[in-house]
Subunit: 220 residues, 2 copies
Amino acid sequence: MNLSIAEENYIKSIYKLEEEGQEAVSTNALASELDTKPASVTDMAKKLKEKKLIEYEKYQGINLTADGKKAALSIIRRHRLWECFLVDKLAFSWEEVHELAEELEHVRSEKMTNRLSEFLGNPQIDPHGDPIPDAQGKMGKPRAHTPLHKTKAKRLEVVAVSDKSTALLEFLNAKGIRLGTQLDVIERYEFDNSIELKIRNQPAFTISEQVSKNIMVKPI
Amino acid sequence: MNLSIAEENYIKSIYKLEEEGQEAVSTNALASELDTKPASVTDMAKKLKEKKLIEYEKYQGINLTADGKKAALSIIRRHRLWECFLVDKLAFSWEEVHELAEELEHVRSEKMTNRLSEFLGNPQIDPHGDPIPDAQGKMGKPRAHTPLHKTKAKRLEVVAVSDKSTALLEFLNAKGIRLGTQLDVIERYEFDNSIELKIRNQPAFTISEQVSKNIMVKPI
DNA sequence: CCTTTTATTTAGATTTACCTAAACTTTATT
DNA sequence: AATAAAGTTTAGGTAAATCTAAATAAAAGG
Ligand SMILES: [Mn+2]
Ligand SMILES: [Mn+2]
Ligand SMILES: [Mn+2]
Ligand SMILES: [Mn+2]
């Protein structure tokens, strides 16, 4: 099954949207995820169905087949390993690596991927806290996928971020929030669902619901 | 100047053929270097001329402009740095890295390239003995470009190989020839220009002119 | 210098991945 | 249930990078 770069990007996005809970991935959702037009998605859906990577019936949305899932996990493995490489070895910061990994992920070589993993010490999570599928395509469940805005606990540790945009990650940098950061919830404001937080030895600050939705936490 | 992958591969091949001495690079030579058809080369030549990366007049062959040369050196820098990475950090052997670097070279990020170089200790030559252009696009002259079949000296050191095919490199592996290997020329046979060689503590062996043309040496 | 051979270009197709605009389905709202 | 709105697909096009076959130009050989 030899996939083009475009096909790989589609497969990865379908995987992402399925994982986010979409029962069947809609044409519009995919188009907006891939920053393309719905008509283009329909075209590609026909091609991926032909290749048996997705199930697709007109107007019924898209789902990955077992083969499609396998392909997705392999792409995601490469993506996340390269992100680790860029952060751990080339000293990039977490907001810089996603775009680069978006390209590096398309160099397909199992040997290189496995050697890279080994070189990095077989990391289990990438710089945004997402789990890295192993060579067999098995991915550890996200260590916690409770977003900050949905937890009741008062003392929390940041385990992942779900949005990898430079905008969000730079905001978090500015506030001193990174993976492993421990947070105290001072107050939740019902009006706009904003949350007041405190990090030890620092002044408290408030974040919007938009932000808190994208911070994955576990209680400590 | 944003180049497609195809354009980058053309630029790199033109650079290579010019370096090998072609005054003006011919359509056929480029086609065979790129494993494509002459008609496709003509099409691309028009496009690259439009972008001012080459000088080209119908039937007159192709030459890189200053801009074209700059682009070529930047691609070659990335290619060779990735080859170093694969050999030095991921323990690949020299015959495995060219194809992978052929893809990795197209991920364009000056920051990543420079960080990679630094991470590798700013290497000056790649695993095949070719010099690596620096961040400013300056490339050290090949340390020696005397091919074995043209030298008179009896005691030699291997400094580079000019053909990067798996076939040649595996042959050299089998004979114990790598960068830095010291060779004694035992005999030159005029009939077929084959050469009998000896490496210290090993039995002598003979190589064809085909092979000796691709081994770059310096006297010691 | 004329002719044959070789090299190169043009013309016309094809494939992939897009796009816009129009048509059609599904779903939501009165 | 009828209609409006939203979502999706089709039809028809474009641009990039290929290709084959035919035409044309350059080079080589007598
Ligand atoms: Mn990422
Ligand atoms: Mn990608
Ligand atoms: Mn190479
Ligand atoms: Mn390449």
